[in-house]
Symmetry: C2
Subunit: 342 residues, 2 copies
Amino acid sequence: MSQLPEQSARTSVPTSADVARAAGVSRATVSYVLNDNTTVRISDATRRRVREAASGLGYVPHAAARSLRAGHSRMVLLPAAHLPAVPLQQRFFTDLQSDLRRLDYTVVQYGSAGLDADEAVRAWAELRPVAVVAPGGVRLTPQGISVLTRSGAKAVITLGPQPVEGAHALVLDQRGVGAGAVRHLLARGRRRIGVVMPQEAGLALFSEPRLAGALHAAETSATGARIQPLPLRYEESSAAELAARWRALGLDSVFAYDDEYAMLLMRALQDAGVEVPAETAVVGAGDLMLGRLLRPRLSTVRMELATAQPPAEMIDRLVRHPGGAPERHDLLRAETVARESS
Amino acid sequence: MSQLPEQSARTSVPTSADVARAAGVSRATVSYVLNDNTTVRISDATRRRVREAASGLGYVPHAAARSLRAGHSRMVLLPAAHLPAVPLQQRFFTDLQSDLRRLDYTVVQYGSAGLDADEAVRAWAELRPVAVVAPGGVRLTPQGISVLTRSGAKAVITLGPQPVEGAHALVLDQRGVGAGAVRHLLARGRRRIGVVMPQEAGLALFSEPRLAGALHAAETSATGARIQPLPLRYEESSAAELAARWRALGLDSVFAYDDEYAMLLMRALQDAGVEVPAETAVVGAGDLMLGRLLRPRLSTVRMELATAQPPAEMIDRLVRHPGGAPERHDLLRAETVARESS
DNA sequence: TTGAAAGCGCTACCAG
DNA sequence: CTGGTAGCGCTTTCAA
């Protein structure tokens, strides 16, 4: 219908005013109809005219304008860690996302790679999210939390190995993983236990608590067991080096951080003539398929997320009743799966 | 300073007007100072006063209001696929994200799990992104592209095995992976080649083109080689079943889709007494660490992303000069790595 | 049952 | 050098 191509090009993004004009009604009516507002009664004929005009023009409401007017958004922000997430976290996010959507939140992942902590928090705050769920690996300080809160976030929640002062916390306590592995090895009669510490950046966040759990389990066992941290890069050469001096270390078992490092190390040990499990028992973590395919089959610590209340509901509750004391929920359950390697 | 707690709570999110009041200047001046607007000259004293007032109040600008006023955003939207991304895509996204940030774009991942195609596209359009990069696994129809374009997106780009009519395309052509594997096996004298087809939802997007490439390579080789698709679930039982009827299939080699399926199948074949590579050669894809740790070491097809122009620059160019014909760029380079399993 | 108008927070004109 | 002000697209009173 437009006769001026260049004008129609400039005006090409249709607004509710365009819909109103096309339907011969006011912008208010358009808003009522498209939002199914029940407090006001509109004739069916008008409803249809508005709907047809909207779809005819390809009208899509402008989220920014809407939330500006409303004074709040329903955006839940998930700052993406710049480091590779563990598969468990990946699945957690996927589930959280669809659960939140069902509660009518808009979930947005925001990558902050290449920003320092302050810039990143500012960038998040500019989006005025109603809630922020920050995974481990994202540096969130108490003052960062304050910036977010003061910019209108009703709930700030950390997700990771340890809580942060002032925020709610979904804790994936990795200590139980290390403790589970060590208790299993102790029960098998092992007493000199190595703990692999990946040297890859970012994994320290997980490996340190696992080591701490291992140490604690050994100390409280009253067996006199010894824990020996073993730095390892995820490379064959690094594993071969470690294997070469294995006998000198005098270890009878090793918790290999996870199944992949376990596979790497087990192969190097076998190549160096160290018998698994006879001479050295090996335990991984994560219960990946590959552990079942190895020979000997890999013992592992399986991890599961157990939640009393689904995280999405918790977030919804915190958003609706903000201001309570920081909550803390432990999500991670660790369970040892004994196979042939230990 | 506020004496009414409940009022200060409601008004707690500071606006540029609050900053202006605190600094004793107008909102315009605040905007000029905080945006380092150079077309207007402001005294250093005023600048400092404004800056101090802003940080004192914890002022953070409101992105929605800003882009509403500006009439455009610099948001690049990455609809997140609901299925697990291949590691290669994961790295691609991370890199793209930081490159785009360097070009001053805001990158946002939007999870559309649980929405059908139309709803999803509408939801994206509501955010008024300046560009959309849709990975494979996200269903994007020509009419979806039109909705996005008409809502102001300057560039719509697909990323995946095959392009979509009307959008620019970053193509990860999986056919070369299958073709590379088959050519390698043909060169090794193999003629009856199985191709593993994962039965997991979502992988068909990758496995079908790989099969097509394998078929094409066999046909054009003039060797009379035969290609046999082999459905397989990522479970030990499924692999064992396949291995049990292996000899009846009469195959002398197999392209196992990727390294993980290769490990699964190779283990099952070995358990069934089928010698690798003597009786059956095995090739994976992805060049994972685990392939190097298997015995025999796994031959694989390594995949790399080779780009003439970095994707971020391409997007920036398309945003600045919209309206050109759809571009298509092939990103995937496949290269066979021969080890011991073939 | 519908329309007019105010205003969310911000920036960019134009006056002073 | 700084301030007043219009208006981005939308929703929601209040009037008609």
